[in-house]
């Protein structure tokens, strides 16, 4: 789990070409993203970033959009699954 002030995010990249992905990942790191994983085939980067730096992440060249990660929980076993 990231520290308190870190927000887990998904970054959607505009281009899934390998070279493009590598370039944007570099820029994302420079913008403060702690990269947890790069999903190159679908063009997403998962990671965490300080809340104070979140807004500028969307301005990084090659970024389509940034969403805060959501968590999923299966229901209790006596409920519809």
């Amino acid at each position: 789990m990231p520290p308190e002030d870190q927000i887990e995010v998904t970054v959607l990249l505009a281009d899934t070409a390998e070279a493009a992905v590598a370039k944007v990942v570099k820029r994302l790191k420079a913008a403060g993203l702690r990269v947890a994983s790069v999903e190159a085939a679908i063009g997403t980067v998962s990671g965490s970033i300080a809340a104070s730096r979140l807004a500028q992440l969307g301005d990084v060249a090659g970024v389509e959009t940034v969403e805060e990660q959501r968590r999923y929980q299966l229901p209790p076993k006596d409920s519809p699954q």
Binding site: L12, A41, T44, E67, Q69, R70, Y72, Q73, L74, Q81
Partner: protein, 460 residues
Amino acid sequence: MATRARTPRRPRRASRASMGGVAVPSAGDATPATTRYICVFREGADAAALSALGKQAGLKRVCAAADFESGAIDIAQADAADVTYFEEIGAAVISAPDGAAAVSALGAEAAGPILAMEPEQVMYAIAALPPDEGEGSASYLRGYRDAVDHLSGRLLGGAAAEALPGAVEPMAAFADDAQSTWGLQATRVLASRWTGRGIRVAVLDTGLDLGHPDFAGRRITHRSFIANEPTQDRHGHGTHCTGAALGPRSVHNGVRAHGCASSGEIYIGKVLSNGGSGADQGILAGINWAVAAKCHVISMSLGASVAPGEPPSRVYETVAQRALAAGTLIVAAAGNESQRPGRVAPVGRPANCRSILAVAAVDSRLGIARFSSGGINPNGGGVDIAGPGVDVFSSVARPRMHTRMDGTSMATPHVAGIAALYAESDKSLRARALWQALVSNARRLPLPVRDVGSGLVLAP
């Protein structure tokens, strides 16, 4: 999914009263002439069909339903259009006040780009057709009827929230027997000659009991995206879903058949922990893995509830589009948040994305499951298809071996497994074409499109 697109106006003859139980006219009834037609284009021939409508019938003003939904055009523009085009289902509503003969001629061309065309009023007669029987013209009608089904539901908007009493014969009930589950019977999987051979199906869930006898001798490719937890399913949900999608389709070790694509290639991505929890990172990593492995179908019995009016995730929508472009269809559970009859909850995330096939749950009488989420939200938040999701018998982790579960989680792998059967039956059925095969061959149900989309998934 333009199947979810709102249409610019209600067809003139589709009054609420007529859908509320008033006698449905048959095709032979004397009805006023219409100048509006619904037509279904031959697969891959949309551009040719639109071009033919323009050149041969003079119908040049085309508006795409998706443009209306996105706000790119307004009602006045759409009303003035000759052709309202539904891209995702390859269908259109056309207005031809002066060109009826030319339009009919286009529809009659056996090898032309227009597969089926009927006057708008047939919307009612078609609802009274018996469940798809026979071959030849029946399959022709199925595709057409599906489009009509979608269109009528969308056109009627809120009125479609009510069923169509009297429009369709009461449904027979199905029941598990010693040989098979009710779900395999209802979806006609047992009668299919296809088993999913050569088709890669990824189940992204809590993993799989890798030593379960239901999957003995099967090739299983697996990976865990949960830190410190191997793929082995210690929850049970993932094994149950895998059993429905890819388990045995004949009596196996004395246990009734419960799987759809019994020869499909099994890909297991563990994206939910043994406690049943996960996050976008793991799910996207799982999708990425399955897309990179060139899986034909991804089954995701997971989701988070959304509020009425909440837009879908742009990340998941784009990812699903990229998956489709790579040949991978994502199928996801609509969600279980409804408390019917009082409350219908919106389809959850990420099934609420336009490019993800959202699956509702029906019971063994083919009624909507009380918990099944519905198409409340715009911009892709509709239900696309339904599957067996109440009292579903399938595999579960040893030592229990098998159990029954309820949920859209159970309906989803039925659709994914049946998708594999279509994919095996025809190499051209991939991604969007596979989507179209599923919805156009579904069994129409006397239930709102809002609840069941095109209807019950049926095997080829």
